[in-house]
Amino acid sequence: MQADGVIGRYAIGGAVGATFYLEPAATLDVDVFVTLPGLSEKTLVSLTPIYEYLKGHGCKPEGEHIIIGAWPVQFLLPSNGLENEALSQAVQADAGGIPTWVMTAEHLVAIALQTGRQKDHGRILQFFDHKAIDHAKLGAIVTRYGLDDKWKKFKKRYFDD
């Protein structure tokens, strides 16, 4: 899709992205953050070209997902600075011989903190259990995107710190 100019950068986020760093945990779909090429800020953004392209390649849409291979995939546009940075600093990962891009552990944790659901908190704790986090890097991201209060509350709740 990148080679055909349908998408710009992309990075796997969510539970599947976290699996790059952690043990696999059940999830039903794949979240892929994408940028669209050739868009100015004033352009009305639509994911239609991605879905049309994939439908042309035999993929079936299903609600807000599109089935690629065995997986329902949801394409997401970065909706804030944190997600934009996560996308631009994604790291390359090998998925069974296929090179792909995954968000860094610190960005996945920061996004989970920002989203703040119970399952997101659970995932953050997993990252800590696995010592998969560079604390200085995470601290810088947390401060850069105004998540200090959320981070303090999280630590107080789970680490009594």
């Binding site: 599947v16 790059f20 952690l22 043990e23 696999p24 065995a70 090998d94």
Partner: protein, 58 residues
Amino acid sequence: MTSERRRKLASLSFGEKLELLELLRDRSLLLAEARKKLARKKDRVEGHKNDKTLPRSS
């Protein structure tokens, strides 16, 4: 799950983990389907119990 097993799972390659994710997802879908079937069955049974127009066995 023991922390040792979790560490081993975490040290698998991304490709191997994705294969496991597929298995986990299939199992989750199967479980969800089974739960739905059970709920439908329960609804049917409750529906019969509450249906006063049906003849009751003595």
